[in-house]
């Protein structure tokens, strides 16, 4: 991969890795009496290792002038492989956590193996490790193809991929050691947050510079979603993580806000992380790979624009539905509820748009498991947004909140929507990236599809049942007007559902392993010859071909 970099680019990269090694060492020294020291060491080791590789291959031949005629896909390949790595790890830990609720003593008497520390490893692993890498990789792919321009440079994509994964590693290893800020989906501590902010700015600048080089006058709508994902996540991340560290030698920090403000900010972040990370970004994926795979343009481009602004706008108001009947002022709760219900409109517009695109290609959906992944994703997107709007209604929320129903809802979205659309995109993209005719085995895609679908169904139904039973038991009264059940009775009643969930989760995890195997075998297939070797895929910059070809 280094052979794809020019001399100057190698030197810039070298400078950056040395900088990483030095800052890691400094952090490690400052935090040597604290857990912080380990993360300093982690960054330092990564920095030295990368520096070593860069120096070792420094005198490899440089790429020829042809390089600017091709899209720059190396970082995308790495991103896809990493996404698959994280989905295997993340769902494995998820299933482990699920079994811990069945066998609570399976912790080896070790802190790192207890429920409270493993759970964030699962959530961060799947959301950031799997989802994040998949989003970064596909956004690099989509932005190049839809603008017909190469990534603006060849160092910053690596900064984004490597930096982001170092962040994920710090997050996951930190929870195991007991480093956490306790804010849901924003658990990493202050230094990791600062690190991610830098990475994210590089990502944003790279994306903007690539858009600025585009040969197409109009920016294809998928990029809108990716851009909204990048920008809003930055705003959310910075505001929600404002904190004062105990010292520069301590991993621990204290959140700048307290009580109600902190809760509001946390759920404003939490819900919009769902909106812009788990929804907007993946809609970007959907708007490119689904039409591509189906071979049909998106059903209504207009509708995709209207729903875009609807989503960007409405989501920001909805966060307070996580805090119904709490100490949050009443009007904020009502506002959150109202906007959550309105959100159904752009959400269903998007889901409907995706399904209507397939209308007329149902034969393909039947035969092609990859396309079926994407169709099912659109269906689950529609279902979970409907459910979300329903759960945001205060009386419904009074029943669902704090119960497994929320968990069921989250996983209808996370497994059914986020993971399925990503698997669809991965199966579409992998043969293109590695220049293969097709995936190694279509059968295995089919197997994966059914494992994922059945696993999701078992999971979601188990959690709906347990959640509703739990909620009803908590509020049930007997004839003499006292509460009918003690809390522990409701815990005991969950047992069969926890077992079912853990089994469903295992099926889903197996599917992810099948996917990893299939991709690995695909990479090893012989490459196909380029269809048209004389014609460079990229128009020369500023040439009119792109425009005229568009007619």
């Amino acid at each position: 991969m280094i052979s794809q970099l020019t001399k100057t680019e190698r030197e810039i990269a070298l400078l950056l890795t040395i900088l990483l090694a030095i800052s890691g060492s400094i952090l490690g020294l400052m935090g040597r009496g604290d857990l912080l020291g380990y993360h300093g060491a982690l960054l330092a080791i990564a920095g030295y290792a990368l520096t070593f590789v860069l120096i070792k291959d420094h005198f490899d031949p440089e790429p020829g002038p042809k390089r600017i005629e091709k899209y720059y896909d190396d970082p995308i390949k790495v991103g896809i492989v990493l996404a698959i790595f994280w989905v295997v790890i993340g769902t494995f830990v998820g299933d482990w956590v699920a079994w811990l609720l069945v066998f609570p003593d399976a912790t080896f008497d070790a802190g790192w193996a207890s429920f409270g520390r493993l759970r964030p490893v699962h959530t961060s692993g799947v959301i950031f490790g799997f989802g994040g890498n998949a989003l970064i990789a596909t956004s690099f792919h989509v932005v190049q193809r839809t603008t017909r321009a190469r990534l603006a440079d060849r160092v910053s994509p690596w900064v984004v991929i490597v930096g982001f994964n170092l962040f994920c590693l710090m997050a996951a290893s930190g929870y195991l050691m007991g480093i956490t800020a306790s804010k849901e989906y924003a658990e990493p501590e202050w230094y990791a947050d600062i690190f991610l902010t830098i990475i994210w700015v590089v990502y944003f600048v790279l994306y903007m510079r690539t858009l600025a080089r585009r040969e197409e006058p109009h920016i294809y709508v998928a990029n809108w979603y990716f851009l909204a994902f990048i920008i809003v996540v930055a705003i959310l991340h910075i505001l929600n993580n404002l904190a004062v560290p105990v010292s520069f030698g301590h991993a621990k920090s204290y959140s700048l806000f307290s009580g109600v403000q902190d809760a509001m900010l946390q759920w404003w972040y939490g819900h919009n992380a769902v909106a812009f990370f788990l929804t907007a970004g993946f809609l970007g994926m959907l708007y490119y790979y689904l039409p591509k795979r189906a071979g049909r343009p998106i059903f209504s481009y207009r509708l995709s624009i209207i729903s875009f602004w609807g989503i960007v706008f409405l989501y920001m108001w909805a966060g307070s539905h996580h805090l119904h009947y709490t100490a949050l002022p009443h009007w904020v709760q009502t506002l959150g509820m109202t906007f959550s219900i309105m959100l159904l409109v752009p959400s269903w517009a998007s889901a409907g748009n995706a399904l209507m695109t397939l209308n007329g290609a149902w034969g393909k959906v039947r035969d092609d498991a990859t396309l079926r992944f994407m169709m099912v994703a659109a269906v689950f997107y529609g279902l979970s947004t409907f459910e979300g709007s329903f759960m945001a209604i205060r009386p419904v929320n009074s029943l669902s909140h704090y119960t497994d129903w929320t968990v069921g809802h989250v996983h209808a979205g996370a497994l059914g929507w986020v993971a399925m659309i990503t698997f669809g995109a991965i199966y579409t993209l992998t043969p293109w990236l590695w220049n293969k005719e097709r995936m190694y085995s279509n059968k295995l895609i089919e197997v994966h599809f059914w494992l994922a679908l059945i696993g999701t169904m078992i999971y979601v139904f188990a959690m709906w049942n347990s959640g509703i039973i739990q909620g009803l038991m908590w509020r049930a009264y007997n004839e003499n007007g006292t509460l009918a059940y003690s809390f522990i009775e409701s815990v005991a009643a969950m047992k069969p559902y926890y077992v079912a969930r853990a089994i469903g989760g295992f099926l889903f995890f197996l599917g992810a392993v099948v996917c990893a195997y299939n991709v690995w075998k695909t990479i090893q297939l012989p490459a196909v010859a380029a269809k048209n070797p004389d014609k460079p895929p990229l128009p020369a910059r500023g040439s009119p071909t792109a425009l005229s070809a568009a007619e």
Binding site: R145, T146, H218, V221, K531
Partner: protein, 53 residues
């Protein structure tokens, strides 16, 4: 400049609504404007051209 809670809440409830209407109407007009139609059609089809992969 300091605002008290009442004022901020009132602004949120009134101008917030107007702002929402403007964004909504604006994006619908943009999406439905006749002369944008051909551009959108072309964009929707542009990704299907062969040489992308």
């Amino acid at each position: 400049m300091t605002f008290d809670h009442q004022t901020l809440a009132a602004i949120a409830k009134s101008y917030g609504l107007i702002y929402m209407m403007i964004v909504f109407v604006g994006s619908v007009i943009y999406a439905c404007w006749p002369s944008n139609q051909s551009k959108f059609d072309r964009a929707a089809k542009s990704i299907l051209r062969e040489d992308d992969e």
